[in-house]
Symmetry: D2
Subunit: 320 residues, 4 copies
């Protein structure tokens, strides 16, 4: 193993730079050359490679986004794109690859390994929807960003009886909505993993009202429906004056939290070690305070979300 490469793929997430930095520094510490690939798999196929030095990752650990840019590139699901990518990797003399991203990135990495090119996956997405790890890179920062906003909404106590619908990200996963719903003491949390009826939500709101609550916060995962759509449904119960907040891409940005900076460092460091040990098709993760390594394919077939459902139950009993 003389030369390795790293890329970020899919939606960007805070902490990706910390992982890139760790890959570069650990690699150089061990005498390797490290290349960065811009724009994920699209850049790989296009041959958009650059040598990364220690200076290139200086002062990046505190930055949001990714210095390697990111892109979605569905074409890489096809064999043709994968072979093109390997051709480029070989052209640049790369012996091993580290991909930071979500399940799409993982599938690409598994495919490359199957084709003989050792690839390691690092879970990087704010959605926390990748199995094989307690937390994905960026999730902790995203939920802190959402909470700061919801705390501000709580401040604006008014005499009007008002309902705030806060639409948060998470694709098909409810993790962001659930954690921030618990963290903000939201009166109602609506996530894709749990069926619900508008009647239940209205009942939860009215319980709060009955206990003298002036305003109600509903944390809504985008995977269920849009905040505007949800507010329209609510408006059928016309006693509500509903306000919708769509935080949008605010949730993807921001300086990474302490957790994501350390997590990124641990992931990047161990991904390099895996390549050095000749491994491939493996993804790095954490279980508690231990680093774990799983087969990418097995991982993608797993389900996570038991802890999520138990959290959901806890919330039911402390936010009634």
């Amino acid at each position: 193993m003389k030369r390795i490469a790293v890329l970020t793929s899919g939606g960007d997430a805070p902490g990706m730079n910390a992982a890139i930095r760790a890959v570069v520094r650990k690699g150089i510490y061990d005498g390797l050359e490290v290349y960065g690939i811009n724009y994920g798999y699209a850049g790989m196929v296009a041959g958009d490679f650059r040598r990364l030095t220690i200076d290139d990752v200086g002062d990046t650990i505190s930055r949001g986004g990714t210095i390697l840019y990111s892109a979605r590139y569905p074409e890489f699901a096809k064999l043709e794109g994968q072979l093109k990518g390997i051709e480029q990797l070989k052209k640049f003399g790369i012996d091993g690859l580290i991909v930071i991203g979500g399940d799409g990135s993982y599938r690409g990495g598994a495919a490359l390994t199957k084709l003989g090119f050792p690839t390691i996956g690092i879970p990087g997405t704010i959605d926390n929807d990748i199995p094989g790890t307690d937390y994905t890179l960026g999730f902790d920062t995203a939920i802190n960003t959402v909470l700061e906003s919801v705390d501000k909404i709580r401040d604006t106590a008014t005499s009007h009886i008002r309902t705030f619908v806060v639409e948060v990200m998470g694709r098909n996963a409810g993790d962001i909505a659930l954690w921030t719903g618990i963290g903000s003491g939201a009166e109602s949390i609506v996530i894709p993993e749990k069926e619900f009826t508008m009647e239940e939500v209205v009942a939860e709101i009215q319980e709060g009202r009955a206990r003298g609550k002036k305003h109600t916060i509903i944390m809504l995962a985008e995977g269920v429906m849009s905040g505007v759509e949800f507010a329209e449904k609510l408006s059928k119960f016309e006693e509500f004056h509903t306000r919708v907040t769509v935080l949008g891409h605010v949730q993807r940005g921001g300086s990474p939290s302490a957790k994501d900076r350390v997590l990124g460092s641990i992931f990047g460091y161990n991904a390099v070690k895996m390549l050095e040990e000749g491994k491939g098709g493996i993804c790095v993760g954490v279980k508690g305070d231990e680093v774990v390594f799983n087969d990418i394919i097995d991982t993608l077939e797993n389900q996570k979300h038991l802890p999520l459902l138990s959290l959901y139950q806890i919330n039911k009993e402390i936010s009634f």
Copy 2:
């Protein structure tokens, strides 16, 4: 002057608690009794008064919202409501009143003074749309809140060519959009005070693109149109993939900035002094680092926004 009262009216704003605290502490320092009226003019008419002590305002200077709650109460525009209010004020033995809020609150205060009840106005609104002062209470906090969010949006640099429309508050005023547009280096700022065409906006976006900008931020004042509506108009130029962020009530909350805490303290302190000097129908403001006092009626007839328009021009020349 033995007993004074204070209320907050209209939309709440960070710093209102700092002003209330200053009114209470300065009043007590001078040997007055201070009462708080809940829910603005609605609470006044309903007789929702309470004695405020130093403890009641303890640890409130750093809190968003208003401990006196706020309400919109159009009925107070009518003489009947005003007389009812004075009746309640007299019932509680109040000799003078301080109202914290926007132009609606000012008109109520002017009417009460005209009816013989001395009232002083403090400009409290995030919209910065009250003449007679450089800044209104809450504006500084609001623009910092917006900027934190826009900085996060900037982080999520992607390879996709993308346009972000950020809808911010301000009612009919463009101050929040303009200040945060300059502060975030937005490629385009759209405010009610300046006519614009979609063609101009698109031109500004494309200039940025031409200089290699990956993504574009448009700061849109709610007084122009909604972010969703604006994005629809933009989508006619289909090369754009537009994302909309509606910060909503996030902008009204949050712990007040240093500026708003000090401003609130200065306003509250001087409002009490005005009442002690037997004044009424006056509103407090700042011009630079000096406190100014204006007749409420004259003030409401004035126009501000010259500085705003010169700021707009500065931005044109440094954000081309």
Copy 3:
């Protein structure tokens, strides 16, 4: 089990209010009466008890500190104090107790259980120095607070060759210094768990200088020595112009992070369940995304810090 009580003891930590809130709400949800004890064990012995309702914990989840106040009370190590405490608990008809705090609080809880009064411990301290859990309540908030400050120090890049010594809390544990050292890319991390010589530190600084670094950050755990003392030792190598930052109690405060709010909710919820199941002498913790329960005495005899030392090694190899 009809009536339970909760107290916070030792140094306060962000997230304690989230735990108190969960104890109160879960207790009431299950039909229990919940009492709060002010000032920890000191208040217990003094009989400073109060009934807690759902309103008492309203809007507290986002607040730093503890609404029950906290106190150190060494006298509680003696049997006499413990018996006095049980006497008070019985006087108020309490059937079970939950203590939130550090090892001192745990020992008190273990003693009470041994004397027949069922007590459950929740790990609440920013120092992360309690075995039996991956993380203690408050640690995550504290390291984020420290990082925000160190990020600001990094900003002030000057042409002077300068060394910043940042003294952080942690009592005898290096966790805060290590996590924030990694998270800020500190050139040197000095913790009690690792021997060091000034020569080594100076060598690390000079390596950075050799690579053109303008300023150096040393993260120093208070358990090693004070920042001022450390700076004096460094000043022997007079080419350094050293600046010392002592964040002090800033690190104990602040609105709890998302992690600490959820962790506090999980801890409080499960502590109540333990009491309901007739358990005592147990402390709650988390291992990864699972809740764990350990015997307090065994826990206090355990050592944690293996993960810490591996983190230390990772940092050595990515921050050379």
Copy 4:
């Protein structure tokens, strides 16, 4: 006027990058070439110049510190250094200079103008100690940074009777201490502009105690003495358990506040206009919402601080 240069000098301050950005963009907008000089006057004499493009200032408006670095360079007070500087400016074909910094920077600019080289000054320092403007660049960010920390200290309410001494920056000026003292509701504010005795401070503390306050915050300007020294004096009154917080260089960093970003933009824009109008020896400032221009020499001879003293009096009457 074909080619202008800009430098930052003295202690760096948040907002300097916003001013540099405005100078570069306004200059280029008007068809000028803009050069940056690294390390202030030291870099000028050393000939450390570089051409600045629009890309060089991209994404810098939200960054703390200064991309041009800063340095103190007392030698520039001597004619020899000034002539050397002008020689370099001419060598690079510079027709006009903009200096961003404190009084030292101003004196340098005045000297250059007197020697025939037109120079404009922009007030850039967190200390707010430059006459001729209501606010200096960086002050607003610094007081917000300090307040965030003091708010956290307030959180850690304990049963111990405790006094917190918070030492803040400001050189010989008390502005930071006074504004943050008012903004945090500090029990005592100690600044160089006001004589005080320890007895008075102790009296203020004890008044608070008498009203049941659990802990006391003293905001101390570094211009008076160090926090450690102050705490020692206080400890003579041994009933106090005093904690000292020295925020240090944290106060110089951080992403600039909205105010400082807009102020920097206004200053930079107008400084370029002055040069274009053939002016020199002028410093830019704001009075309220208007831009003002003063002769540097006259300005340095003026005193500011009347508003400061009236603020001090307000605080006396609302924080008793």
